[in-house]
């Protein structure tokens, strides 16, 4: 296994001079990404997400600190890094708008100097996985958003990049198209070992795809760990949803009645005060229960609370 991290970021800062004075968009962040990781990068608008990605992809130079991608300094070795890196911005296109889709793939092949046989082989596989066959002769501007996003992904991974930067790849897509994009990314990461950095507002993308989550706010990294660990650390409240056999008042020690609807009761309890098993035992001792489910804290809810400063990092 390659022991070198794909991305190394140390004390990274970016200051912009604006009319209202200097603004620190990225205020000193550190992290490393190992080969094959699938990292979600989240944060509210203006938190510094896209500025970080721009520094990693060679579009912006850091004001201070160090960044290395594939062992290269992004801006200084911009062209060399570009051959080993893929970028997809959800709301912009990397394809040739007025030309049939297949011409975009051909141009990408030449730009990244992919041998024709190799290109044909990779493309055949991508066409199958992303169902691109019927779209090849269609001008890009005539593709639907979902079709276009599949095409964008194919064009971005055609050069077989080691790192893939994705910015809101599922924005505006319907449920089916979202699922297609997620399935593709999951397989790409698993089968090719491509390292993926996913910037998104859609926390569903993150919980479904990412092994690791980084949250940035006000230019600082306020969380870096697994999605599960975030749930355990911040999501202290769990909810036991109970369907009673009869409509009756419920009182269980250690839980608070959050909501009642017909014979259904929502009982909130703190993870560190009582276990679910204990609570269920107490409940069953006093009531007849038809059914019950346990709801883990909603990751979206936790992140929203972190953004609002309610859950201290």
């Amino acid at each position: 296994m390659n022991a070198h991290p794909v991305i190394e970021v140390e004390g990274l800062c970016k200051r912009f001079r604006t009319r209202r004075g200097p603004v620190e968009a990225v205020a000193g962040i550190d992290f490393r990404v190992q080969p094959g990781e699938f990292v979600g990068y989240a944060g509210p608008n203006g938190a510094g997400k896209s500025t970080t990605v721009k520094m990693m992809s060679g579009i912006l130079l850091p004001s201070a600190g160090r960044v290395a991608v594939c062992g290269m300094v992004p801006y200084r070795e911009r062209k060399r890094l570009a051959r080993r890196m893929g970028v997809v911005f959800g709301q912009r296109t990397q394809l040739w708008w007025d030309l049939p889709l297949e011409e975009s793939f051909e141009l990408v092949g030449h730009l990244y100097r992919i041998p024709p046989a190799e290109r044909a082989a990779r493309l055949a596989r991508l066409e199958e996985v992303l169902a691109l066959g019927p779209l090849l002769a269609v001008p890009v501007r005539s593709l639907s958003l979902g079709q276009r996003m599949r095409a964008e992904l194919a064009a971005a991974v055609l050069p077989a990049p080691e790192v893939l930067f994705l910015d809101e790849p599922t924005i505006g897509l319907d449920v089916e198209a979202k699922a297609a994009v997620r399935d593709f990314l999951r397989e790409l990461n698993r089968d090719q070992g491509t390292t993926v950095i996913l910037t998104t507002h859609d926390l569903d993308d993150i919980t479904r795809l990412c092994s690791r989550l980084m949250i940035i706010d006000h230019g600082r990294l306020i969380y870096d760990g697994t999605v599960e660990a975030l749930r355990t650390a911040y999501g202290t409240t769990r909810v036991l949803v109970v369907d009673l056999a009869e409509d009756e008042p419920v009182q269980v020690q250690g839980a608070v009645l959050a909501r009642a609807e017909g014979r259904r009761r929502w009982l909130e309890f703190a993870r560190d005060e009582v276990s679910a098993a204990e609570l269920i035992a107490r409940l069953l001792a006093g009531h007849e229960v038809a059914d019950l489910t346990l709801e883990e804290p909603d990751i979206e809810d936790i992140v929203r609370r972190i953004y609002r400063g309610e859950a201290p990092p």
Partner: protein, 269 residues
């Protein structure tokens, strides 16, 4: 850059193919670009007719100068129109330029090749026809040497105009930067509320697109084409000085472009 010339040729071919997919549109743009030349030449001819001659130059001879300038402008704008301030700020505003920076190519090569504007072929052809027509009226006997001088004049003037456009584009990166930084923070760089100020007014534009190219690259070679004596003491070899002058303009333009990109990327601060 030379070793990958093929890539840029492919990009340019793709941009031409993209326009060619709408042939009616292409023809209209092509014709309108040519028509503008016809109208402007007619204006010059009518104006000159009133004077009879300017400083000993007959109207047809002056029109040769203008025709050479039109041809050079067409050539320069075919590749350089995309470097105009409003187009560069549009590239930045839409985030297209950021994407260009993630490609394994030279940003300038990419931008120029991807936005070749064939409409200006119309201006080039109309300019060339104007030169042929006016030279005929002026009684020019074409020789290979004279044709070479005319081609030199066009190539050098086009290079000068391209260099100026390049410098202006470099400057646009600086003017667009301030507002971009704000928007990067607020909207992730997707919207740019304020366009950069118009960096060169029409008077300045007139100087750069007409006066300087004609004065530095067209006037002296045109003397040779027309078989005229220039002002006393102007040696004939001066015509060949157009090439290094044009080269200097292109080099300065290239430096300004690079400085602009360095500023955009953030090394300039």
């Amino acid at each position: 850059m030379a070793e990958h010339a093929g890539v840029y040729l492919r990009l340019a071919a793709a941009s031409v193919r993209a326009t060619a997919r709408r042939p009616a549109y292409l023809v209209v743009r092509f014709l309108s670009a040519g028509m503008i030349v016809v109208i402007e030449v007619a204006g010059v001819v009518l104006m000159l007719d009133r004077f009879g001659s300017i400083g000993g130059w007959r109207p047809a001879e002056v029109v040769v100068l203008f025709g050479l300038a039109f041809t050079a402008q067409g050539l320069a704008l075919m590749f350089g129109d995309t470097l105009e301030a409003d187009k560069v700020s549009e590239l930045v505003r839409r985030g297209t330029f950021d994407q260009v920076l993630t490609r394994p190519t030279s940003p300038l090569g990419w931008v120029v090749a991807s936005y070749v504007d064939t409409r200006f072929v119309g201006r080039m052809l109309a300019g060339a026809v104007t030169v042929a027509w006016a030279a005929d009226r002026a009684g020019v006997a074409w020789t290979p040497g004279r044709a070479g001088l005319a081609a030199l004049a066009v190539a050098c003037a086009a290079t000068i105009i391209f260099g100026v456009l390049l410098a202006a584009a470099g400057f646009t990166f600086v003017t667009v930067q301030g507002s971009e930084a704000v928007n990067v923070l607020i909207y992730g760089g997707q919207y740019l509320a304020s366009y950069p100020m118009q960096i060169y007014g029409s008077a300045l534009r007139f100087v750069f697109v007409w006066v300087i190219p004609i004065g530095l690259a067209i006037y002296v070679p045109a003397l040779g084409v027309l078989g005229r004596q220039g002002p006393a003491g102007l040696p004939g070899w001066l015509a060949w000085l157009s090439a290094p002058v044009a080269g200097a303009f292109a080099a300065l333009g290239g430096l300004a472009w690079r400085a602009g990109i360095r500023h955009y990327v953030g090394t300039g601060s």
